[in-house]
């Protein structure tokens, strides 16, 4: 290589270096906290694929959001809270306007970031997970547990059990066990189930499983001894398949087990094989399958990450999650202009997000989810779910829509978020004056 060649190469690199920031000035920085390694990778990877593919669809098909391209970067958390916080600190200030929002896909990381995001004015989107009390946007201005909290999930599961038993009155005297991941995630539904146990007169038996859940013999022997009428499963990763296997080994009927929506994907039933047949799980609105948006991804994202998992439950959840973030940015642009926006401005977009059935159809999500409308007092936006059942090969939807009862969850939301506000010395916003 001659000196002249080296000089030209350096000049080209210099030019690219000068050009790159100029391009980046009109890009919206969107971090993705993901886990493609570690014990929860089997669930984390398809979700991250869905998120990434949707952002790429927006860039490749539409040229970004109203001309503002998404600048995407992934950070591997391994589902570890410390790594999640590290990723957050490293990424929060990147891009021309800082991080748009964070989706940690971990209730533990969500708990750790909740105070920080408030200080840094960056929204934290926890679709179907996270702190249930953060539904109250008056206290948790930057938390958005979109589409359903664990308290909503617990209520939906109990509504379904009541329906199977022939009415809410028939819950009296029954035993309902909760086999849960012994972590902030797994403990979240407990307050709701305690309230419902008191209200409906059933016995509630919480049974924790230590991370990661590879050994659950004692928990399922206890189930065999207690003989509960139903078991609710609040697991993640390897814990789900192991639970189903152990249920089979103690001959507990799989159709009496109802998993939360994080225990109802393909990797959760695969390890148990035929023994998972009959197992039921909640749906966070959507299930598996291909819809309009999948056709668009196939057409416009040639190097899509979703391959074998394309159209599976967790891939689809990633797609839905990414779409909600993109639409929040689009909503915020209507007010603040078609340019890269700050986290604070996108928070406004999230709080004013209103996706009608017509808009969902336009976006290719018809049949996948119901309309959602966020407000200051309701950062959940929708609390609808269905129940699906595994037939040994695929998930089948077996119920109509349920809507979580606000009279069950709202007193808890008010009570626990008020305690949080008092502890953190937060003055709740007056939602009647929120713009």
């Amino acid at each position: 290589m001659t000196l002249k060649t080296v000089g030209l190469a350096l000049a080209a690199l210099g030019g690219a270096a000068m050009f790159a920031p100029a391009m980046a000035q009109n890009e919206q920085y969107v971090p993705i906290l993901s886990y493609r390694t570690g014990p929860y990778a089997v669930n984390g990877a398809p979700y991250a694929d869905g998120v990434s593919d949707y952002y790429n669809l927006v860039n490749l098909r539409d040229g970004g959001i109203n001309g503002v391209k998404l600048q995407i970067e992934e950070c591997e958390t391994g589902y570890a809270t410390d790594k999640g916080v590290e990723c957050y600190e490293r990424m929060k200030g990147k891009g021309p306007t800082g991080a748009s929002f964070f989706n940690p896909l971990s209730t533990g990381i969500t708990f750790a970031l909740t105070d920080k995001t408030l200080q840094d004015k960056i929204p934290i989107i926890t679709m179907g997970y996270g702190r249930a009390d953060s539904k109250n946007g008056a206290v948790f201005a930057y938390n958005f547990p979109l589409l359903g909290t664990y308290w909503s999930a617990a209520d939906i599961a109990m509504q379904h059990i009541a329906k199977e038993l022939g009415g809410e009155g028939n819950l009296k005297g029954k035993k309902i066990a909760l086999v849960f991941h012994d972590s902030p995630y797994g403990k979240e539904p407990i307050p709701t189930l305690e309230v419902l146990a008191k209200k409906n007169g059933f016995t509630f038996i919480p049974i924790p499983v230590t991370h990661p859940g590879v050994e659950q013999k004692s928990q399922w022997l206890r189930i065999r001894q207690e003989r509960p009428d139903y078991v609710l499963l609040w697991g993640w990763g390897v814990m789900n398949g192991t639970s189903i296997n152990e249920a089979a080994s103690v001959a507990y009927p799989r159709d009496k087990i109802i998993g939360v929506w994080w225990s109802g994907a393909e990797p959760d039933v695969a390890p148990a094989g035929a023994q998972a047949t009959g197992y039921k799980a909640l749906m966070l609105q959507h299930g598996a399958g291909e819809f309009g948006v999948h056709g668009a991804i196939k057409q416009h994202v040639p190097n899509r990450l979703g391959k074998e998992n394309f159209g599976q439950v967790l891939y689809n959840r990633g797609v839905v999650n990414a779409m909600l973030g993109v639409e929040a940015i689009r909503t915020a642009q209507k007010r603040f202009g078609n340019k890269p926006l700050t986290g604070e401005q996108i928070r406004w977009g999230l709080e004013n997000l209103d996706l009608s059935a017509a808009r969902l159809k336009e976006l290719g999500f018809e049949g996948m989810m119901r309309p959602v409308k966020i407000s200051c007092g309701d950062h959940e936006g929708a609390r609808d779910g269905r129940v699906q059942q595994w037939d040994g090969k695929k998930w089948n939807i077996i119920s109509d829509w349920y809507t979580a009862r606000q009279d069950v969850t709202e007193p808890l939301v008010k009570d626990i978020s008020a305690k949080y506000a008092a502890e953190k010395k937060i003055t709740p916003r007056d939602c009647s004056k929120a713009d």
């Binding site: 050994e215 004692s218 001894q225 990797p267």
Partner: protein, 309 residues
């Protein structure tokens, strides 16, 4: 009577679960006996063996090969992979560190862990791969005596039988073969063993291969239980208290340690757990290990090392 039946059920299940932990612990014991190294990579070796087995099995079955023929070929393929792994570890990790202290070699096995985990997933994939080599349903025993009977999982019984056979085979290997005796000499002192003509590179290759084959057996059983996936590496954590209790140098100790840990943690979880919030079995195993450490630091069956200073 029902209470007694429940107690026996938990006890038997715990003992059998403990034998499954012993299967993983045996791999640690073998390498410690032969090199004085605590092999941090044993969990990763279980993952590698399991992935090689299940991926080969799936490949052959998908091409129409009868299941049990595919299992046999899958086992041979996985054993070959473990032989390659043993060769690489000896050549590139431990070989260059002969006569270094145990801590250096321990750190080297930590490095090997991450390489094995990464390479295994890169080659064979990182999804959950179901494996069905053993029955996973249960027998109900003593129904006439105890209401509801006593549940005994068939997979656990298979694990117990296989672990028993392994212990006998390994005991014979260590006590009655030339290579086995050479392994024990190398464990005592690398340099002294080399000076009397023991080929240390060959010995280490053999022991890592045997540990790899034990990992393959553990992977076949645990893979049937959990599906072959990354979480299988966490079994190493279950084996640690087993080793502390049984002793790092004793094959029978690994079995006895497993029985104590298995029974202890299950009884604690079922009978003590509900009073203190549950989820105690993971740390309760370490409480048992600490108790043994206080009384017998070398473990119940470990060799007491006396050094002249």
């Amino acid at each position: 009577m029902q209470e007694l039946g429940s107690f026996l059920e938990v006890l038997i299940s715990g003992l059998l679960a403990g034998v499954l932990y012993s299967l993983v612990a045996l791999g640690f014991v073998l390498i410690f006996k032969a090199s004085g190294v605590f092999n941090f990579a044993q969990g990763a070796m279980v993952l590698l063996a399991g992935l090689a087995l299940v991926r080969c099995l799936d490949f052959l079955v998908a091409r129409g090969m009868p299941f049990w023929a595919a299992v046999a070929l899958g086992m041979i393929f996985a054993a070959a992979v473990m032989a390659i792994c043993a060769f690489m570890v000896e050549r590139y990790v431990l070989g260059p560190l002969v006569n270094q202290n145990a801590l250096t070699m321990f750190m080297a096995t930590i490095g090997a862990t991450f390489v094995i985990e990464g390479v295994a997933q890169m080659i064979f994939g990182s999804d959950v791969y179901p494996l069905r080599l053993f029955p996973t349903d249960a027998w109900i025993a003593g129904e006439g005596v105890f209401p509801g009977g006593i549940l005994i999982n068939k997979l656990d019984v298979w694990g117990g039988v296989i672990a028993g056979l392994l212990v006998v085979a390994l005991a014979l290997f260590f006590q009655h073969t030339k290579t086995g005796r050479a392994l024990r000499a190398v464990a005592d002192d690398h340099a002294a063993a080399q000076s009397v003509g023991i080929p240390i590179a060959w010995i280490w290759f053999v022991v890592w291969l045997v540990a790899g084959l034990v990992a393959l057996v553990a992977a076949a059983i645990w893979g049937t239980k959990l599906g072959v996936q990354f979480s299988i590496t966490f079994l190493a954590l279950k084996a640690l208290p087993v080793l502390i209790i049984g002793g790092f140098t004793s094959v029978p100790g690994a079995i006895v340690g497993g029985l104590i840990v298995g029974a202890g943690e299950k009884l604690a979880e079922v009978y003590l757990g509900p009073f203190i919030g549950g989820g105690i079995e993971y740390w309760f195993a370490y409480v048992l290990a600490l108790a043994v450490l206080m009384v017998r630091p070398q473990g119940l069956y470990g060799e007491k090392i006396i050094e002249r200073i």
